[in-house]
């Protein structure tokens, strides 16, 4: 969509977050979703951020997508990105088992710890299905985990672009289906415009001492 103009009109603003081990392809998925290309990217340092405007269900949506680094060194800072996210995309690499087991051992715990949003929608994504020959995590395992953890599930490939659009769309549709998240999505706008800015600036940015 029209991802260039940041002044575009929109009905809801949703914040999405991508997490998962280093190298599973989060940044590649995001690049694929936002500009529909696949290229080698530097490993993310800390966090990356993209905005994408989409129209779904007749609603104009602004998606602010935060792509975090899988590297542990940056993990203490990532808590801030969880805040207020309406959707969390948990990515693993179907060709590397430890990226899958880390989801339940590391990432799901982080979500429970830092997500401030009880209703927030989670989505499990198995990436790199184009490397079918090297696959070690079966689709069924992914499904089982998703069922247990209560989240959406999809397999995709940033390289062949298969299912990538689907993945984000499904997540957003689910958010649109959840009244409390919908309310947040619309409140965010009002808040940003009217209330929050002046005191915010006053309270924290002014230098002291």
């Amino acid at each position: 969509m029209d991802s260039a103009s940041s002044q575009a009109e929109f009905d809801y603003l949703f914040k999405l977050l991508m997490i998962g081990d280093s190298g599973v392809g989060k940044s590649s998925l995001l690049l694929c979703f936002t500009v529909d290309t696949f290229e080698e990217l530097s490993p993310t340092i800390g966090v990356d951020f993209k905005v994408k405007y989409v129209t779904l269900d007749g609603k104009n949506l602004k998606l602010a997508i935060w792509d975090t680094a899988g590297q542990e060194r940056f993990r203490t800072l990532t808590s801030s990105y969880y805040r207020g996210a309406q959707g969390i995309i948990m990515v693993y690499d179907v060709t590397r088992r430890e990226t899958f087991t880390n989801l339940s051992e590391v990432w799901a715990r982080e979500v429970d710890l830092y997500s401030t949003n009880q209703d927030c929608i989670k989505m499990l994504v198995g990436n790199k299905v184009d490397k079918e020959g090297e696959r070690v995590v079966t689709k069924k395992e992914g499904l089982d985990f998703a069922r247990e953890y209560g989240c959406l599930f999809i397999e995709c490939s940033a390289k062949t672009r298969i299912n990538v659009q689907n993945c984000f769309e499904e997540l957003v549709l689910k958010i649109l289906d959840t009244p409390s998240l919908l309310a947040e999505g619309s409140k965010g706008l009002k808040k940003n415009i009217f209330k929050d800015k002046p005191p915010q600036a006053d309270a924290s940015t002014s230098s002291c001492c």
Partner: protein, 923 residues
């Protein structure tokens, strides 16, 4: 003829007696108004008889307040310029069984042993009281009417003053028999049951004894709860404080003492029908112990405040929260804290509308308590409710939560004194009480709490720096350390910077990593001592200007130099409060979409790590750093078939040098940001780097924030925190296994979590008010649950069921509030006591103490642990075989069965006695 419109028409006519004949075609010209009155009654009765209970219910009969089964319909009529009201009482399900004593009976049912009945009385509005002759005249009118329509309903007419509860009544029992009723108070005439028994034989006897525990809150001297509150809590030496309160060990008692919702219990012991054949036996019964009763029923008597919905009647967290919400509302208009909170002029304070303003000394003391006696917390108790976290407040024991609770009870928020104390801690490098000085900031708490946590950490770091500095000067072994480092790094010019600031010597974030990689990094958790010296593999110490190493990593060798890799000390990742995150996110969002964007802070961390790594491994190359920092991006070559980038064939064991492998594709791309950074950073140990978190700067920022808080910013956070802390306090109360209470508590938390989210504008004030009402209900229920629990500790079933009964009784009242018929009903559920529970119940009636004995009046016997019954009710009845009841076709059994020919109900104490008689006679 028997319609209500008809009776209305008649009523109109009655006003002008002479013209009555002209109004109607019916031939009433010869009838007197008396006769018309009778036929009017008759008409109404016929209608009611024809309808039967089922239709009457459909037509809107009213359920009596006292009963679950007794309904009434009524009709109004006029006679001789007075209006009368006739009511028919009936049970919805008439099972034909005799009335049972344990159910809630209507007074007339109890007195006369009847089930359905008519009552006719002058309209109460007209204020008419019947004297005896009038009453009998009225009664005979009804009797004639009933007889005309062959009704067997008993009918009653009240006599005299209503307080006497005197009635006369009559029942047509067929052509032969009539039963007459009479009830009255006998006043202070002593009586003895044996008198009655003299001329009776085979008397049926039943007795109901009601006992009441000594009220728990028996002191009448509790005048102002306010005063007591402040006394007992704020002034430990005050006179009231040594009096023990029922809730002394309840979680809320630190803040207030609640009125005991349970005033006491009533025990009803029922000795049902016994046959008494001699006056001896009769005398015996008088001394019968309630322990012999077949049935025990218990019912609590609740404080009237429990059901009173009006605010202000009850002091608790909810009442204070209500005031706090008021204050929040006002805060939206106040621009500066000075407009809002004024210490010099507490009268203008907005929080204190109905509260006692504590004197300055008290404020001082509480501040002292809050700051100087509060123990240092390492970790907050996790005994909180699972939903607490979703309420943006602060942990119950934390400094800010305690401040909020104190403010709640002061009715005043002394934010400036509070901030002054905080600043004092900061300036004196005294650790902040009730705050952990380590760990991560919990962003789910309110901003003030995050700031305070940050400040506590900054203070700690400041102290560490001071200690380090002192150590450097004074301590022996540390001098060793620094000289060693100095000597190793002797010729480095950059070394003249002293390790001043924020170097804590922890490789914190790497400590999590041990599971994920096989490389076996050394984790230096508490690394003061460099291990450089102890390195066995370090072959060329002379070349090494290694600095800031936390130790070597055994299995890892550098690529370009035959040395083992050293893990450096790294800086702790900086902490950020929510507003800093927010600021950062906003900056990022403003940056927008440039693809190579990276967050500056993380870039700084990476830079710092690279710098430190370079310092610890002077001969390292970029690839070495990646192998250590992002092992996923270093791909080891397969032993057999691959050719390494350096061109040397592999096939050697792993520990052989050099290691074979290459960077991942993404790491080796042109323009890779990581390599760019690597190329640009100097080798600097973490201790000499610019700190990622400057404790002096960040600490001052926190204080600046606290000192320039806007009233509404403060109040918003106080509201959330106070709600949460109040709920967390209540939630610590133990109340046994009352599921409803658990559920209610869960609901409260969820309601708070969603209700306290949007505190952005004044529209939410109404919601917050509702929330404090919800809170009040839950608080009341919880107080009750706790009170019942502790009073019936050894009979948990009773406390559970009483609570459950009350809960179902109370819940409909919570939402609607104003439905009269619901609200007026009193809680009167009685619970049967099981045999094994009798001991517990009996023990609640401890023998009266000396100063209670003045209550004793003339003893009537039937004592329970020395307690007199507050009410003794006895029914004597006499049955005779009755034959000639040939008329009573409606009651086919009557002619064969025994008929209760004589019944006497006695109730009350010896100086306040009420007697009701029913006697069947043959006319």
């Amino acid at each position: 003829m028997a319609s209500s419109s008809n009776s209305k028409a008649d009523a109109d006519v009655d006003d002008e007696v002479p013209e009555e004949a002209l109004e109607h075609f019916d031939d009433f010209t010869l009838a007197s108004s008396w006769e018309r009155f009778i036929s009017e009654i008759e008409a109404v009765c016929r209608l009611w008889m024809a309808d039967g209970p089922k239709n009457l219910l459909e037509k809107g009969a009213v359920l009596l307040v006292c009963s679950s089964n007794l309904y009434k319909v009524k009709s109004e009529m006029k006679y001789a310029l007075k209006s009368y009201c006739m009511e028919y009482y009936f049970e919805s399900t008439s099972d034909g069984k005799a009335i049972e004593w344990n159910s809630n009976l209507h007074d007339l049912q109890l007195c006369f042993g009847v089930k359905e009945f008519l009552v006719i009385a002058p309209q109460s509005a007209s204020g008419v009281v019947l004297d005896a002759p009038e009453a009998s005249k009225l009664l005979s009118a009804v009797a004639i009417a009933l007889s005309n329509c062959s009704s067997l309903w008993p009918a009653f007419v009240p006599v005299h003053d209503p307080s006497r509860k005197a009635y006369i009544g009559i029942q047509n029992m067929g052509t032969v028999f009539t039963r007459r009723f009479e009830a009255d108070k006998i006043g202070s005439q002593a009586y003895s049951t044996s008198d009655l028994s003299l001329h009776l034989f085979k008397v049926q006897f039943a007795m109901r004894l009601t006992y009441r525990t000594v009220p728990y809150d028996d002191d009448d001297d509790i005048k102002g709860i306010d005063a007591e509150l402040t006394n007992s809590r704020e002034n430990p030496s005050g006179e009231t404080s040594n009096r023990t309160q029922w809730d002394d060990d309840c979680s809320w008692s630190e803040w207030y003492s609640a009125e005991d919702p349970v005033r006491g219990f009533e025990l009803i012991a029922i000795l049902s029908d016994k046959m008494v054949e001699s006056s001896m036996e009769m005398a015996e019964l008088e001394n019968a112990s309630p322990h012999e009763a077949e049935k025990w029923l218990i019912s609590p008597s609740f404080s009237p405040n429990l059901l009173e919905g009006s605010k202000g009647s009850r002091i608790g967290f909810s009442s204070q929260l209500h005031l706090l919400v008021d204050a929040l509302e006002m805060s939206f208009e106040a621009q500066f804290m000075e407009d809002f909170v004024s210490v010099e002029n507490p009268g203008s304070d907005n929080l204190n509308s109905s509260m006692v303003i504590p004197p300055p000394t008290v404020i001082d003391r509480v501040m002292k308590e809050l700051f100087h006696e509060g123990e240092q917390l390492t970790e907050f108790s996790d005994g909180e409710h699972k939903t607490s976290r979703y309420i943006k407040g602060a942990p119950l024991e934390s400094l800010f939560a305690q401040f909020c609770l104190h403010s709640l009870w002061f009715g005043n928020c002394h934010i400036r004194e509070y901030v002054r104390e905080v600043r004092w801690c900061w300036e004196e490098s005294q650790s902040l009480p009730r705050m952990p000085a380590n760990g991560l900031l919990d962003l789910s708490t309110c901003l003030i709490n995050q700031k305070l946590h940050m400040l506590a950490i900054c203070i700690e770091k400041k102290r560490q720096l001071n200690e380090d500095f002192q150590d450097c000067i004074g301590s022996e072994d540390h001098t060793d350390y620094s000289t060693e480092e100095e000597s190793v790094a002797g010729d480095e010019t950059s070394n003249k910077q002293k390790p001043i600031e924020n170097f804590s010597g922890k490789v914190d974030s790497f400590s999590i990593s041990d599971d994920s990689h096989s490389s076996g990094r050394i984790i230096a958790r508490d690394g003061r001592k460099p291990e450089d010296a102890s390195l066995p593999t370090d072959k060329k110490p002379s070349e090494c200007t290694r600095r800031g190493s936390a130790g070597s990593i055994d299995s890892m060798m550098l690529l370009k130099s035959y040395q083992s890799m050293h893990a450096p000390y790294t800086q702790e990742a900086p902490l950020m409060t929510e507003d800093m995150h927010e600021e950062r996110l906003q900056a990022v969002e403003a940056f927008g979409d440039s693809f190579d964007f990276s967050a500056q802070l993380e870039k700084d961390i990476l830079t710092s790590d690279m710098s430190a790594f370079k310092a610890a491994n002077p001969d390292a190359v970029f690839e070495d750093f990646i192998r250590w920092h992002s092992p996923g991006d270093w791909e080891e070559d397969d032993l057999k078939d691959s050719v390494s980038s350096s061109g040397i064939n592999t096939g050697k064991p792993k520990d052989n040098w050099p290691p074979q492998g290459h960077l991942s594709k993404r790491m080796s791309e042109q323009g890779n940001l990581w390599r760019k950074i690597w190329d640009s950073v100097p080798a600097l140990p973490a201790s000499e780097q610019k700190p990622l978190l400057d404790p002096n700067r960040e600490g001052e920022k926190v204080l600046h924030y606290l000192e320039t808080l806007r009233p509404h910013q403060l109040l918003e956070q106080m509201v959330c925190t106070a709600f949460r802390a109040a709920a967390d306090t209540l939630n610590q109360t133990s109340y046994g296994e009352m599921e409803q209470m658990v559920t209610k508590m869960d609901q409260l938390y969820l309601t708070m979590a969603s209700g306290l989210k949007p505190l952005q504008d004044s529209e939410t004030i109404a919601d917050l008010r509702r929330l404090s009402v919800v809170f009040e209900h839950v608080e009341k229920l919880l107080t009750l649950a706790a009170s019942l629990h502790r009073k019936l500790l050894r009979a948990p079933r009773l406390s559970k069921e009483i609570f459950s009964d009350f809960y179902s009784f109370y819940i409909p009242r919570m939402g609607t509030g104003l439905k009269e018929d619901v609200v007026n009903k009193e809680f009167d559920k009685k619970l049967e006591v099981r045999n094994h529970e009798r001991g517990v119940v009996s023990s609640m009636f401890s023998p009266p103490t000396a100063n209670q004995s003045w209550r004793k009046v003339l003893s009537m016997g039937n004592l329970l642990n020395g307690h007199e019954p507050i009410l003794r009710e006895i029914i004597f009845s006499l049955c005779d075989k009755v034959n000639g009841n040939h008329y009573a076709a409606r009651d086919p059994n009557a002619s064969q069965t025994e008929m209760q020919t004589y019944r006497m109900y006695i109730c009350g104490t010896s100086n306040d006695l009420r007697v009701a008689l029913s006697v069947v006679s043959c006319d």
